[in-house]
Point group: D2
């Protein structure tokens, strides 16, 4: 806390916690505070945040509010889905992918307002602090970073509430006690962790879910939906063209009513421990198999397998907060290069938590019925070629086999 | 066909096609035929195959029938599931994993009976010919391989039927016409492809499915099931210890009634073209997320991520038929090394096609509630460490950022 | 040989073997032959090839001769060196990288002349047939490929000579007997294999080398040379700007006199067997460590390690002949993305077979003396950060250690 | 420094710096100090360290001195060389591989003596602190670690000397001033860095080298040497069986006189910055190509390529200090699995800094002259197989080519 700071850009939600941080920054660092409030589709109105900031003494010109939904989906979510990214085999990286955008915007505002510092409200045990700060440092290497949860001595809920009361910060009734779990939300997903979710042997209580109905309560009739892709990105639903954010919101709605996208997971944090989280990613959970399905007919095997092999690394980079790193950008160049012909339509059946691909077609399809049918194709495929193919592939195995027979190794 | 062969071991199902092959071998190569019929859980009785072989003139001592179900699951399916293997992100390799075992048994019988050749009934356009033959060659490098579908001139259904009639091979009524699709089955899965499935834009007709009910017809109440693992392998269901094959059969039944494990896929064959298949893997589709879930609390991050990174390669090797290759064995050594503490229980909810992990516990759990809770853990975790962790991880990004600011690259 | 062919583009060197092929094509296929002779820096004059082609009855308008040296180095050799590609840890891919360019030119000429076929003179046991033909097929999927060495029955040197005599093909005296080894050469390298080189236990005889002096005969005084790079490619030697081919030729000369670039190797061919080859790559053997050295100060760790990890795959693709494949192009996109700031100078000492980097500098250097010196850097590095960095990196290992102490796994 | 410590095991060389640390531990922590001095082949006598420890007040029973040379080479160096490990393409990891063994021994002594802490003399900017501490934590998760260079305020050479004088620590004359570079040495290598080496554009002065003669001063006649391998490890030189450490020492001597193993490198440290080092690894620089050469005839292509692909990751793990991690052990299992038949002899020519493989043979050789010679092999290879092999490998490229021709993508 010995850092000297003149002006700091705070990622400000308008909620109690970031309001406490706001006030703590003013009192601890005696510095000017700039607030940044973004709409990433978390489902909260932004204007109350402006009012609250004003109330807490922020100058009007220091209040920045921005609707980032389209940029978020177009430049972050979609590029990531081109890679079919899943962390640890299942997690769609809903929280991870939002952090770099917020960091980037904070740095842009810092440059604009001449601020020398930035501040976030992430705790000292999670991944989000890493994601924010790697973004800050990459984009503004000399920035000062303030991470209140690692610095202050407000170590309990009581201490926080006491601080708020002492500084006339309004406290909503339901915020006095500890929340039974903590939540992060944006247009891609909603995550919950902590408290009631901490024992990984115990089922997630139903009240934790907010974005999806229970599959058991979903309609008894499946929803059939068609998604169109262009160069790897979804562009239309049931033939209706939509902007990226509109499209994802629509998929979220389809997922919500069909109970799609719940994930109960124990994951490995970058900071070294395991944690248990619950994720709801309704639209993303539809989008992933749809994207894989359009790739299945438009992407060559060599391209597809290379993508699959580098995917875990790519997902790990995003999870760990290295969006603004050369290696993520290099992998993105590789991925994007593959998507030129990933164009076409996929039909899916959504039913009580399940997403089932039932058809795919494309003007660029590499699937050739001629080649596959048992009647021998006119052009390219001759049964007898297979013998030579197998024999040369087997050659080294035969040499090994001969050695084993003769020498036992 | 110019090969000179004295005795050949035929993979013989007892069905019309392999009976035609049997007779064709006798007439074309004038050689002694040894039949091998295996129970891999495909769901057919084996004794009729013996009767048919006798009828077609095979000597009793040349008829081999074996129940391989336990060996199949214990030594092939389970090792593969330790790797969480999925080809092209989704396919559980049900056909691929059975081929090496059949090849191995044929070679063993060839050694025992002094046969110089082996024969399979796979077509010349698929992957199975490769899988069989790579296995044969690896285990008996000097073997002669006969692949009738690549050699004979029976190029239509009519020609086959005509050949059968000429050679007094009994023909079941429903085998006269062409089957609307072709099927492969074993204890892990049932696959269908060809004919009515060839257009990937058209939904799989319901009558193609044989192992699972339609999710829409599954019970309205979820089934909750517990699977126990020891060293990476499933050993008990709902607390009841079972042999590997018994356990997989039980999972198949649970999957069947809950509509679990249907997969409609366009995949990339090793022989170079895309094909569309329909897979039913009810038990495997339950087993995979269960195994991932027990790993999620017992496997370290470094181990888990390394496994995820090599998995696509491992799956590709199995798909392509390289089970008996040094590289598959090296990867298996790596995988098996990781499974020592993958022991514990996973609870799952099965519901209308969906498999949902709802709890996991293990005496070897690496999940530590102390470390995760927001109250600072007693021992290992200090919030302030995170600052140093982030700063050193950021150092190279800051250096890059400085360069970009100064020099624009 | 049942293929019907109207016009074929032959990769024609003007030597005895391809002259025999030329005549064999005319007699066997009764087709028009177009010859293509390229200068890739193999060190032979091209005009004699024209004379010989005319002599063998090729129409003047069907004789194509092209100097490809600049295109070869600029578009094939340099992109490959950006990746630091080495097959099996050591081989600089000198033969492999030339084949796609020749294939591409043959196809271009086929399109121009309306030819329906192409022909190469590679044998049926090597990799080159694969490299040529994968290139042909990728660029002109419906082309007919003629590979005489796999088709004809000229199975001995005597048979070839006899065929040549029967068809009035001039035979140089030293070509009557079998060559003691076979040679391939271009501006990047010269390779030798076969006959006297076949026993991998026996040292390569000195007379096999043609591009380099024996290190023992090289000057007793080292040569110091500076290579300048721009965006990953070498552009100048000792401050003198040069075109790609000129530069590589200059490096070859420097390598030659200093005995640099000899490699005696047993390698694994794509077609399944091991072979022993001798390679001389004087310029390339200087270029590789020079490129690594300029990367060492201009490339970030994340970028550098990612490049190192994908390199073996990239090298394998080129070796196997998949230059014109989506996966090679995707990897190239990744590699090229990393080279934007790979600009600067490297100083090397060349001495009796050795290449020793002795200095490197760059306007884009990421090497910061401030950060490294033991005096604590002003800005970014604080010793105390290391403690947190280590502790969080150790966290999972400590958790594992605790489990091992308690439970033994 | 607020840690409470009762007994600490110090990695003690007997030199001035670790003697200062010893005294600083006593005065700062008022704790009992146990010294551990190991012979890893650094080339210094150990008994003076005992005398100095006694002089500084260490109880005789708290002084541990051990000759670890054989264990070092057998259990650390050789397993690493099985992998052909090179960090960033060139560095043989000489420093990195010694740290885990020292850490392991310190922890063993801590257990034996009931110590609750360990201490090392590595600085706060390097990799060695990480390597020591990850080892400590992995093996004894609750250990307290003291890293004086990160903790004390002795920030200059003057301060250190003053502290030594105040505490009656004997100071050798040449230790009063700052060393022109710092050195680490063991049986595998000697590394130098800092001060005079800091500018990467400036050549390493000749006086920095201590283990090798300048190539220009090496004999004018090459040395030819044969190395025998068994299961991947070197076991004999010129037919004389030797223990691991004896063999490495012998290779070091051969390397020394022939000027082999100098490396001038800018590398990327795990802690985030680049550093320039000079390494001398005479024996290792001979061993690596020798091991690759014996692998070239005894290892199958699939095994060899898999090893090459995972090698950079394996090397990075060792460099970063993760020897005692599950992922390193998993990769080791994979590597060791491959070495069963890596047995045979390699002949090399050593000449003025160069190592040239000139022959290799093995009873387990997979190199088959029959397969390679142009005369068609009796058994396994048929030229015509190559056509089928190529056509099926080309199939997907032809499909892509057709699409590109028709549709432009």
């Amino acid at each position: 806390m010995s850092k000297s700071v003149k002006k700091v850009v705070l990622a400000y939600s308008g909620g109690l916690d970031t309001s406490i941080i706001l006030k703590w920054l003013q009192t601890t660092y005696s510095c000017e505070v700039v607030t940044f409030t973004a709409d990433l589709g978390q489902g909260e109105e932004l204007e109350p945040a402006r009012q609250k900031a004003l109330l807490l003494g922020i100058k009007p010109e220091n209040i920045f509010i921005e609707d980032l939904r389209e940029e978020f989906v177009r430049d972050y979510v979609f590029p990531m889905f081109r890679a079919n990214a899943q962390y640890e085999g299942v997690y769609l990286l809903g929280t991870s992918i939002a952090r770099p955008l917020i960091a980037k915007k904070q740095i842009e505002i810092a440059e604009k307002t001449g601020a020398d510092a930035v501040c976030h409200g992430a705790t000292g045990k999670g991944n989000d602090q890493v994601r924010f700060e790697l973004g800050y440092y990459a984009l503004k290497p000399d920035v000062t970073i303030i991470a209140p949860w690692r610095e202050w001595d407000l170590r309990s809920r009581e201490a926080l509430i006491k601080f708020a009361e002492e500084h006339q910060i309004p406290i909503a009734k339901d915020k006095r006690g500890e929340a039974p779990f903590s939540v992060d939300a944006n247009l891609l997903h909603c995550s919950s962790e902590g408290k009631v979710l901490e024992d990984p042997a115990v089922e997630v209580p139903d009240y934790v879910y907010s974005r999806t109905v229970n599959p058991e309560d979903a309609p008894d009739t499946p929803t059939v939906v068609t998604i169109d892709f262009e160069k790897g990105d979804a562009v239309a639903i049931d033939g209706v063209k939509m902007s990226p954010a509109t499209l994802l919101a629509k998929l979220n709605e389809l997922g919500r009513i069909n109970g799609i996208g719940r994930l109960d997971l124990v994951e490995n944090r970058f900071v070294g421990m395991k944690s248990r989280g619950m994720y709801e990613t309704p639209g993303g959970t539809i989008l992933l198999p749809a994207h894989r399905a359009i790739e299945s007919i438009t992407l060559d095997r060599g391209a597809a397998h290379l993508k699959d092999e580098i995917m875990p690394r790519y997902a790990e980079l995003i999870y760990n907060g290295f969006w603004f790193s050369p290696e993520r950008e290099m992998l993105q160049a590789l991925i994007d290069k593959s998507q030129e012909a990933v164009t076409g339509s996929v039909r899916l059946k959504l039913y009580k938590g399940g997403v089932h691909v039932i058809g795919r077609e494309s003007p660029y399809s590499l699937y050739s019925q001629d080649l596959v049918t048992f009647e021998e194709g006119a052009v390219a495929y001759d049964h007898r070629d297979a013998a030579g193919f197998i024999k040369l592939n087997a050659l080294r195995l035969r040499t090994l086999g001969s050695r084993r027979r003769k020498l036992g190794v």
